[in-house]
């Protein structure tokens, strides 16, 4: 990745750690982006909220383990890697680094 781009990334406070329960997903907005934030087995994950197949919000989808399914067509993505796992989704979604600082959740954008 371009160095300037990399440097221009910064950590952004997006939620409180108790905004999510275990096996939960919420939608957050940061820097004009819609992001789905997950908590699975005590680990937080962040991916783009928009399905790469058609316009739909992944945070409205069904979460099982670390797989989120689009609520419209059941295309599925790995929330750890962003990889498309199940048709009709083929393109991956972007993932973001997540850090918990005290009781706040930060993601790197």
């Amino acid at each position: 990745m371009n160095k300037v781009m990399e440097n221009s990334k910064r950590w952004i406070d997006v939620a409180a750690s108790d905004d999510l329960e275990e096996d939960d997903v919420i939608k957050i907005e940061a820097e004009g982006k819609a992001i789905a934030l997950f908590l699975v087995e005590d680990v937080y994950y962040a991916i783009d909220d928009g399905c790469t197949h058609e316009l739909a919000s992944l945070s409205d989808g069904y979460l099982e383990d670390t797989v989120i399914e689009c609520p419209l067509h059941q295309g599925a993505f790995c929330i750890k890697t962003g990889k498309a796992l199940h048709a009709p989704a083929e393109k991956p979604v972007d993932t973001y680094e997540v850090e918990v600082r005290s009781d706040r959740i930060f993601i790197r954008l």
């Binding site: 096996d23 058609e54 409205d60 989808g61 069904y62 979460l63 099982e64 399914e69 689009c70 609520p71 419209l72 067509h73 059941q74 048709a87 009709p88």
Partner: protein
Amino acid sequence: MKLKSYVIVGAGQAGCNAAKALRAADPDSKITLIGEEAYDPYERPQLSKGILSGTIQTSELLVVEPDYFDIQKIVFLKSSAVVSIDPGMKEVRLSNDRRLPYDKLLLTTGSKARQLRIPGSKLKGVHYLRTLDQAKALHEHLAVAEHLVIVGAGFIGLEVASIAKQYKNCTVTVIEAGETVLQRGVPEEMREKIHHLHQVHGVKFIFKKSAVSLLGDDLVTGVECQDGQILSADCVVVGIGVEPRTELAQDAGLAIQNGIVVNEFCETSTTNIYAAGEVTSHWNRQLDEFIRLESWQTAQLQSVCAAQNMTGTPTKFDQVPWFWTDQYDVNIQLVGVLSSGQQAVHRHFDENKFIYFYFNNKKLCGAFGFNTGKYIRATQKLLEREISPDPSILADPEQDLGKLLKSKKGP
């Protein structure tokens, strides 16, 4: 060694997905995909949604990238019609008299729109909605139409009504011979909720009346009802259902019963001929009978299942039926097999977000909901695993269906 030759008749979503799955399973085989339309394979759900509203591009419908067939060495014959199948010779004949031999043949011929057979039904301004060309023509006409009349209150008619009300400036009247909207395979609560949704948006309904004639000399100007009432119309959409395209299969002697009959391995009654997608009449575990499903799911999944069977990996097609429609800002989904007489409980979030669960003697049969895709999916998993939670648990918005599944995941 002679390479295996697969021929697929019908290049819609089902046919194209089958071609992909065949190529993945058998990299060296010869694959020929034959379709009547002039386009690359595309998905149809958006024809009555994004294409009609003009909010999405044709390229977004494509099942594969334009260079896919070249890269994968799949012969794709577009604008080509198959006129007959000879199961004895194991070949299909095209309209240009060319013959193509096959080792395994797959029929993914889909459905065609049922035609309205009344006087005036060939007038200009009378539309059907099954193909991309038809969707584009209707999109253009709706931009200038003043009075839209829709014949038939099924899913297509209602999706057109919702797009017309959201994006166009015309009056919308739906005429339906039945007593209410969505007469087939849909529970009463769903009919009521969807009917109400359209009324709120200003769609006018005329129930229990048939259209007997379309009026006009060249362009349509009106719709005459059975009691003589005349509805002014400069645009008419006919949405009175579809019929499976079984002609080729029937002529070739395959068993037909409300579709091409296939077993759970997508095999027809004739050796080496398979069928997949909404043209099939296939076994449903939940109902314990053969059904034909006009849905994206069947096109998407049964085709892949057929390809696996054709390439020597026996795979059963066993899906809990699942369906969606988009109307206004509501994504409506239905899962399972619902019929009258089932008991309903519902989980309410707000006016446009709720789900109804249906039971038959405490056995979960399915659900439908507005803007509740996640809960519908959980219900589908409950049905797949034959888990029937207590109705009061399903009705309680505080209960997490995912956790319910997790706790009953099996040993």
